[in-house]
Symmetry: C2
Subunit: 329 residues, 2 copies
């Protein structure tokens, strides 16, 4: 079916998506039905997939380049949390009729910028019509040394508990996006909103953790929920000190006005940091990795015998978490 708003599928691919595959000979300029990639010996293929849907994960009015970048970055973050080095991705794009060529050009521009930033290539895709919302499904591919992918199930009793970056900015950014947190500084509000709209996957950090981390994943469901996943898979208890959770200046400002925002910060999700556990003898290595990647990495708790995750206040009492992790479902 032709659309007044945009060229046909083949022409869209030629103009906007084939250039995204130019760096990979096996992607055949997206002119074939599949791509080939020669894998290096001693490497496992690591695969993850995540879809984002209009009105569920983003709004139609969001900037198209940021929609594209977030759709890609949530997948790159999954790979980072597994210690994998990403090399490419495929994308299924289901486009409502209202999407025009300018939108697609901006969307592809976002992907091009992120490909350059994170060293990945488009390997293939499918573009089809959606009679409803815009949907973007991305499958990202990476490599790890054979048998070394970081697992949720790797945490051991006695490990330190670590997290990269700062936590809660995206959850607070969503509140800003919805018109909340008006009492804090304009620049801080803009930073929080940006963290919500465009996460920074820890693509460099993740693979460096392979030799020291035991259990790991990225923080997407929320700090407490994702350490809960690690605790459950590893059959251990994880205790997090609320006061140790790393916060941005903006989150600190917000929290000063509303101490109960701590629940949002710890449960809110969309942080796309790396959560991991590691033995105490790895502290010097982790400090070195933090310097090398210029990434804040903070020790926030311990792994103990037992089950489940608990977040403790300064007095050692459990913080009540109203929700156990954000789910879009």
């Amino acid at each position: 079916m032709p659309h007044a708003n945009r060229p046909g599928e083949f022409e869209l691919i030629r103009r906007y998506f084939a250039p995204l595959a130019a760096g990979c000979a096996g992607a055949l300029s997206l002119t074939d039905d599949a791509a080939f990639v020669t894998q290096r010996d001693g490497q496992d293929l690591i695969i993850t997939t995540d879809a984002v849907v209009e009105a569920v994960h983003f709004l139609a009015a969001d900037p198209p380049d940021l929609i594209a970048r977030k759709a890609l970055r949530v997948n790159l973050s999954d790979l980072a949390g597994k210690g994998a080095v990403p090399f490419g991705y495929v994308m299924d794009l289901c486009l409502p009729d209202a999407i025009d060529e300018a939108w697609i050009a901006a969307f592809a521009g976002g992907l091009a910028a992120d490909q350059a930033e994170f060293g990945v290539q488009a390997l293939g895709g499918d573009t089809t019509r959606s009679p409803g919302p815009l949907m973007i499904a991305i499958t990202a591919l990476g490599n790890c040394p054979t048998g070394r992918m970081l697992l949720r199930a790797g945490a051991r009793v006695g490990d330190d508990v670590w997290v990269s970056g700062t936590i809660g900015d995206a959850a607070l950014g969503l509140m800003v996006q919805r018109g909340g947190l008006t009492e804090i500084d304009q620049a801080e509000r803009a930073m929080l909103r940006r963290r919500y709209l465009c996460p920074e996957p820890r693509v460099r950090l993740g693979p460096l953790l392979i030799n020291c981390a035991h259990g790991a994943c990225d923080v997407s469901d929320g700090l407490a929920a994702d350490f809960g996943h690690i605790a459950e898979a590893s059959r251990v208890a994880i205790r997090i000190e609320a006061a140790a959770v790393p916060l941005s200046a903006a989150a600190t400002s917000a929290l000063a006005n509303h101490p109960d925002l701590m629940v949002e910060i710890i449960s809110g999700g969309d942080d796309y940091e790396v959560a991991f556990t590691a033995p105490p003898e790895s502290r010097a290595d982790i400090a070195q990795i933090a310097r090398e990647t210029e990434t804040r990495i903070t020790r926030i708790g311990v792994v103990a015998q037992g089950r489940g995750v608990s977040v403790l206040d300064r007095a050692g009492f459990p913080v009540t978490l109203q929700k156990s992790g954000y789910t879009h479902f």
Copy 2:
């Protein structure tokens, strides 16, 4: 968000999708954020992706097991057309609220049956809510000997032109599905409709063609359109004899009543057969592969100097194709 109709995301995965990953240790029972697969030396990874959308590619009332099977099979067909042996897939499933647990159980049952039939495993996925149509995006993964993936660009002047199975059944099946072709036999109508609803990807055949085929792809856009893709990528002309195109008994019956259906048969698409070219010295090998796989493989034309695809009638005159290939876009 909880749904009255079905359990939450984690429970759905545990009940219905984790069992689909039981055959692959690296899929970690779908309890982690990514899967790992150790690749064998000397093999390339082959990747393809296709999405299907309710009201575009299927109807909400179609049987859920067939929706699942078609979504998977169109991807397996792409791999077959590239000569790849499939090993797994990941799936993004965007579910409208109206989808209930019984639907999901039937859908997963269709996938389980096809996994057993085609030797593939679920490696991962993402389940999310759709505020609109049901959408299923599948990325399928396979292997080929390094550098040997069959390309659209491989056809050479002097090659024979071949196609597997019979052509046009799915296009006629769609007409049956829409209430047409009432004059032909009930059993034949049922066969055509089944070919439309559930294609038979040539998973065994494709990899056997690696040593004889030059240019290849599966027939999804239509026989003429897909040989057009091969001709364009290979910079050759492809001539197909309309009278040689292999037809089922049902298609022959339909054509006897309506000779103009030949255009639908050649242009209709959704055949999911393998279209390929091969040098004349491969005829004996191809006959042997046909016997071995119990697959009809028919020589329907030649590759010549020039550009484009032409379909010729018995007198050698070009058949006018009203459309150049079906597109869902």
